[in-house]
Amino acid sequence: MEQVYFDHAATTPPRPEVIEAMLPYLRERWGNPSSLHATGVRAAEGIERAREHIAALLGAQPDEIVLTGSGTEADNHALIGVSQALRDKGDHIITSAVEHHAILHTAAFLEECGLRVTYLPVDGAGMVDPPDVRDAITDKTVLVSIMHANNEVGTIQPIAEIGAICREREVLFHTDAVQTVGHVPINLREIHVDLLSLSAHKLYGPKGVGALYIREGACVRSYMHGGGQEQGRRAGTENVAGIVGLGEAARLAREEMAWEMSHNAGLCSLLIRGVRQHVPEVTETGHPCQRLPNNASFCVAGVEGESILLNLDLEGFAVSSGSACTSGGLEPSHVLLAMGIPPEIARGSLRVSVGRDNTFEQVDRFLDVFPRVVERLRSMSPIVRAASQ
């Protein structure tokens, strides 16, 4: 039975071109990029070429790209680095209730350190209202951090509008763009974003590499201390092969973005239409229009999302319930609860995230299997049986 991977929001398979680009930096060009001799220089060249590709994907300058070990590290660097750099200015950070845990748990850590954090609410589609950002900013605010797109429900936030507000109020603006970089156009020459986090393994690159864009002149302290790598901004001997892989993934994403967006949107459109037609009592979640082209998310009444996930896995489909980072827990998603979805409905959440290698035939097979899985689970559900008596 063909295994179909419909969980690209969790991670993506490294592309063959990415792997090929990385191999020389494991086999021959394994030097320490900080070394002055030719062995080190050959490794450093790979990093700098990758940096140029990443910058080009974002409309940034290469020197504005700080390479990190993950998107989570980039998020930590942004929040902790800014709060440290600007502690004489203030002690207040604004974020949203639907951020990834990399932001929420870092914010909670900063609260323990004595900072104040405002968690902005969202509407039923998971969208932050820009006037709420404006109203929350005080003279002690040092940073606003709002994710570009939500990893669970796919809603794309109005970061251009929020960025303009932050510029007007002279507050630094960070966005966790882990779900959007490489998948939707981002041009940092056209929107006001001071810091941006990204992760290689979300755009067909390897795991263990990320980056933090820091606009030239933005005030940020280092997060990782030690050697002078990354121009003193992020210590630690670089994951050269991984960085080269990220660079290649960025280059390919820039070249193929238009095609990929169209391909993914077509797959999701077919899938969503099919679910509407063939599976009763399913709520689509996230914004209907301002959403990631590769994300379809639902709440299925009367069943647990994890049960759906496990049964679909038995049928050869890899999907997600809630977010991958929280799949070990049985609590409903904080994102869905923040959107006002009742817990008993939120427990039936399902996320399907397609990718460049998925096909329309695979979506057709999913639409053949999914209704049967839901019907079977509902027939066994004590909640559904009690409601029908």
Binding site: L36, V41, A44, E45, R49, Q231
Partner: protein, 65 residues
């Protein structure tokens, strides 16, 4: 890092084109001209500036790997 960035820019240039590189005093001015020559490019001029140097480099006619 100075040499790495210089090298990447030179790779994108046509043979015979010239590049101006601004370098701090110290390790950079000691290492970069040597690396430029080792790659086969020409160092046309080294001009002292306040706190550093200006290097004028001519891209070689052929690649030296």
């Amino acid at each position: 890092m100075n040499w790495v960035k210089t090298k990447l820019v030179l790779e994108g240039m046509e043979p015979g084109e010239r590049l101006e590189v601004l370098l701090d005093d110290g390790e950079a001015i000691q290492g970069v001209p040597r690396s430029v020559r080792a790659e086969g490019h020409r160092v046309l001029q080294v001009t002292p500036l306040e706190g550093g140097f200006r290097l004028l480099v001519e891209r070689a006619a052929s690649e030296h790997e």
